[in-house]
């Protein structure tokens, strides 16, 4: 039987004399280091080791907008029930940064464990925190002769120390090291020596290990699973969706999507016979150009995309509004970060919703997809290209830094079985059949608001038309005639209705206790903490809530039904201004009074405790 998870004593800094340690495989490791010190590899080795041992585990990198020198943290959560949201507070601290050590130490939960450079002299919490000072500076000198490399190698010494204290399986540590550094034999050898030294030293000095325990579970829930970040997952989706033209401008946190995609495309989309590319990746001069190129390529008939974050979206506004009105397909990934303005570029948020929903001037509307997991980052990337070409409009995939840049476990991604949907494109044969004058670019032939288009360079030379952002009639001809203009923009509304019906449907999770008066609505990375919070509320407070996960904007009828079925719906989102609630209120004004907000906007990934607190504060006791 799985032991119950400890979730109640989350308040940090409490001074209870001696607290019982948490159960095995149920605690949070926090590594506090300095940016640019090479700790990422060490932390990945720890995470992978636990993952390989079959322990449900997730990792979050909290880092500054800086290349070297500012504080950075890596948190690893072990959870017997497989919760992957962030959990506030920590139980095991590895303090490698003098600047933050005292604060990190003070925030350790009672019953915690601290590993730190011995010169730090942390203490004063009595038996409450088990302290393990380690002479890292001395040990690294012993195992790394090159003084320039010691700053990097010292991280592997703490991996070794933890491997002993937590009794991590040596062969899994070694396998994880090989996964991370297999391509660099010299680095691998040096790091193996450092891990071994840390382990040996700790075994001699602290033979009793620490009070936190890791146990290999009877059932390895990670067997056959993959570990991947959301940006790489989305990149894989784009590669297998057959993207032709990728234009982008580097911006945190979307950069790794562009880079991962370039890697996959080079490997899997180079023509084996000729060595030539069936794709183009263009690093544009700015986000305006990135959007312009994607739109030009989408117009010419290639599957095209760009990837960016909030500030880039701001710059792309004019062109993407153009693409809405001129009806040009392309896919835009928005890996959201904390704004406004430059904001906190390396911290996560769901704060671009209002901006994207109506991005650009005039009456503009854009469909958005909300992936909530790496598997969905992959599948929605695949879907986005089909939908953009089907709908002939930019489709936005609204990811965020938490999903995009952190590693998540997942079942392996399935191969796309569905044939590509290339939309209503007329071929030479179609055009010959239609005859001269038979093609009107913006005419609604099918009644679904989606017109037919032709691609420039279509053999035969028929079907040429004029694409413009200025007022145009159903043939694409320039017009300032009120009626000619109105016909087109009203038809765009019919298309919006088609989009609403065809967009990914929401996921509804009933409470299991029959219809409830209250419900929770969330999307994207808010979903994991929400599902965990629902368990806590049910088990610890007897509060049963139905939940709905939005997967797309515009909202499917099931969203209306869900709101109508509940007196109170808590909209959980990671921004200050309740942006999704505002969009829901605007789209479903009659149901707006039922909406409540649970908000977080400090840049830290949302945790279940915050969701619980937000709901408990507003929800009448059952």
């Amino acid at each position: 039987m799985t032991p119950p998870e400890s979730r109640l004593a989350d308040a940090p800094g409490s001074t209870v004399p001696v607290s019982p340690p948490p159960p095995a495989n149920d605690f949070v490791i926090r590594v506090g280091t300095v940016n640019g010190s090479g700790s990422q590899t060490a932390n990945m080795v720890l995470l992978r080791t636990l993952f390989q041992m079959g322990v449900p585990v997730s990792g979050k990198n909290v880092f500054p907008s800086n290349i070297q020198g500012l504080p950075t943290w890596f948190e690893i959560r072990l959870s017997p029930r497989g919760y992957v949201a962030r959990r506030k507070g920590s139980d095991l601290l590895v303090a490698m940064n003098h600047e933050t050590a005292e604060k990190d130490f003070a925030e350790l939960r009672p019953g915690g464990v601290a590993v730190f450079e011995e010169s730090m002299r942390l203490g004063g919490r009595g038996e409450d925190v088990q302290c393990f000072p380690v002479p890292f500076a001395v040990l690294v000198q012993e195992c790394c002769p090159d003084p320039k490399l010691r700053r990097l190698v010292v991280n592997m010494v703490y991996v070794g120390v933890l491997a002993h204290l937590l009794d991590l399986e040596a062969q899994e540590v070694s396998r994880a090291l090989k996964t991370m550094l297999g391509g660099k034999p010299k680095a691998l050898a040096m790091n193996e020596v450092a891990v071994a030294l840390g382990r040996r030293w700790a075994a001699e000095k602290y033979p009793g290990r620490c009070r936190l325990r890791v146990e290999r579970p009877v059932q390895n829930v990670n067997a056959g699973k993959i570990l991947i970040d959301g940006n790489s997952a989305a990149a894989l989706g784009c590669c297998f969706a057959g993207v032709g033209v990728v234009s982008w401008y580097p911006i945190t946190p979307s950069t790794s999507l562009g880079e991962a995609l370039t890697g996959y495309l080079r490997k899997y989309r180079t023509d084996p016979a000729t060595g030539k590319a069936t794709f183009a990746v263009i690093q544009a001069e700015d986000e305006l150009a990135a959007a312009g190129m994607a739109i030009g390529a989408g117009w010419a008939g290639a599957r095209s995309m760009t990837t960016t974050s909030g500030p880039g979206i701001s710059l792309m506004g004019e062109l993407l509004g153009f693409a809405y009105y001129a009806e040009v397909p392309c896919v835009v990934f928005d890996i959201q970060r904390l704004g406004p303005s430059t904001g906190l570029p390396t911290r996560t948020a769901q704060g671009d919703l209002l901006q994207v929903a109506t991005l650009s001037h005039g009456d503009t509307r854009h469909p958005m997809l909300f992936p909530a997991s790496v598997a969905e980052a992959y599948s929605m990337a695949l879907d986005a290209f089909d939908l953009a070409e089907r709908w002939q409009t930019p489709v936005f995939v609204m990811s965020d830094l938490d999903l995009g840049m952190n590693l998540w476990g997942s079942e392996p991604f399935p191969y796309p079985e569905k044939p590509m949907e290339r939309g209503k494109v007329l071929t030479e044969a179609d055009l010959l059949r239609l005859g001269k004058g038979g093609f009107s670019r913006y005419l609604d032939r099918d009644g679904d608001g989606i017109p037919y288009r032709t691609l420039p360079g279509t053999p035969g030379g028929l079907g040429a038309y004029f694409t413009r952002g200025s007022g145009h009639d159903e043939s694409g001809r320039y017009t300032e005639d009120a009626e000619g203009y109105r016909v087109v923009v009203e038809r765009l509304l019919r298309k919006w209705e088609t989009i609403r019906c065809e967009a990914p449907t929401p996921e509804v999770v009933p409470s299991g206790r029959g219809a409830t008066r209250a419900g929770v609505l969330a999307f994207g990375t808010s979903w994991f903490p929400v599902t965990e919070a629902l368990d806590i509320l049910r088990e610890e407070r007897g509060m049963a809530l139905d939940a709905l996960r939005l997967r797309a904007f515009p909202f499917h009828d099931r969203v209306r039904e869900f709101l109508a079925d509940h007196d109170r719906v808590y909209v959980v989102e990671q921004n200050r201004d309740a942006q999704m609630r505002k969009i829901l209120s605007a789209e479903l004004p009659d149901l707006a009074p039922r909406l409540r907000s649970v908000l977080t906007f400090d840049g830290w990934p949302l945790d279940a405790g915050t969701v619980c607190a937000g709901i408990v504060a507003q929800e009448p006791a059952p």
Binding site: K225, I226, L227, L236, C239, F240, A241, G242, G244, V245, S247, Y264, Y268, R269, D271, G275, K276, A277, T278, A280, I282, A284, E285, D286, L288, A289, A291, G292, M293, I295, G296, A297, G298, W299, A300, G301, A302, R303, S304, E318, L319, F322, P412, F413, Y415, P419, M420, L455, P456, G457, T458, G460, G461, L462, A464, Y465, F466, T467, R468, G469
Partner: protein
């Protein structure tokens, strides 16, 4: 059933198309606008060069100049983009379908102000694009403000004097490594048409800066973009001759006087320098001469620099020969095995 034989046009080009096939809608620009003269030249050039209308992609931004693609080659696809954004849109279209022949029509506001960055980067990349700047030194649609190409000391109709240095699209293009840099005068049809034919046959970014008087806002005394000023001051430093690839007549080029440049389609461009020492193969010399001309308020025209052969953007990207836009799904979606391989690497 065979359709009845259409009446054979009196005169047709090598594709059998009449001049009419290269015309477009009626111009809505002011009577006498320099841009209309350029449009008329484009119609003749496209016809005489036998460009397939279905392969031509007319790209433009915003402004009087950018409206003109509606006035020629009605059988071609066209994209009238946002202000200043023609180059990236053309770049995306060309990369998606490298068999297209993009013809960019832009203005001085579009290219030298709001879209200056894109202009520069298209040249850096050597995007195959015939880039025509219809340069009148003034904003027409917003009723007569200076543009960034207005010369220092030139005056608006109101008498206001321009006190900022101009952006010279030709010297800038030379600085950025452009292999085809020309300046023309809209009223000098003969030179303009020879240059446009060469620009369309060239592979790479071909910059053709055409001084094109605005009859309404910039055709007065004190303007350096007026018809009178142009007629009085234009001095061609290079005489441009164009021999299309299908003409095999050999013309002897006297050594030392002219330079003949072979373009990828087999066309030949003959460049005869009309000024001693001017060298159309030396970008630094051309740049220096144009800077001097600016200081001395000279209006030099001609194909200043022509050096073909630099790899174009699509070549540098190593694209497959066929248009990306028309690749079948099996060439776009990697195999099942490829995905399995990736998944294994992530376990």
């Amino acid at each position: 059933m065979t359709p009845p034989e259409p009446p054979r046009p009196q005169k047709s080009n090598r594709l059998g198309l009449p001049l009419e096939a290269y015309k477009g809608g009626k111009s809505t620009l002011c009577l006498g606008c320099g841009h209309d003269a350029i449009t008329a030249s484009l119609v003749r050039v496209l016809w005489e060069s036998g460009i397939e209308p279905g392969r031509l992609a007319k790209m433009s931004g915003i402004g009087c100049s950018s409206k003109t693609p509606a006035y020629f080659s009605a059988g071609s696809w066209a994209f009238n983009a946002c202000h200043g954004r023609m180059p990236p849109v053309a770049t995306g279209a060309l990369v998606a379908n490298r068999t297209l022949l993009p013809l960019g029509v832009s203005g001085d506001g579009d290219t030298a102000s709001i879209g200056l960055g894109h202009f520069a980067h298209a040249i850096r990349r050597n995007v195959p694009l015939c880039y025509v700047i219809e340069n009148n030194g003034v904003y027409g649609l917003t009723k007569g403000q200076f543009s960034a190409t207005a010369d220092m000391g030139s005056r608006l109709r109101t008498g206001e004097e321009n006190r900022a240095e101009p952006v010279d699209c030709c010297t800038l293009a030379l600085e950025l490594g452009c292999g085809f840099v020309a300046r023309c005068f809209a009223a000098d049809k003969r030179q303009l048409e020879a240059v446009l034919k060469a620009a369309l046959a060239y592979r790479g970014t071909a910059v053709v800066d055409v001084v094109s008087p605005c009859v309404t806002f910039n055709n007065h005394e004190g303007s350096t973009k007026s018809y009178d000023w142009g007629r009085e001051n234009e001095r061609a430093v290079v005489e441009v001759g164009f021999v299309p690839f299908w003409e095999t007549v050999e013309v002897e080029v006297p050594p030392g006087e002219a330079r003949e440049v072979l373009l990828p389609d087999g066309s030949r461009v003959r460049l005869r320098t009309l000024e001693e020492g001017f060298d159309t193969s030396d970008p630094v010399a051309a740049w220096k001469r144009l800077r001097e001309a600016r200081a001395q308020k000279e209006f030099l025209t001609g194909l200043f620099h022509l050096v073909p052969g630099k790899p174009t953007f699509d070549e540098a990207l190593g694209l497959v020969d066929e248009p990306l836009a028309f690749l079948p799904p099996e060439r776009l979606r990697p195999s099942r095995e490829a995905l399995s391989e990736v998944m294994r690497s992530l376990m």
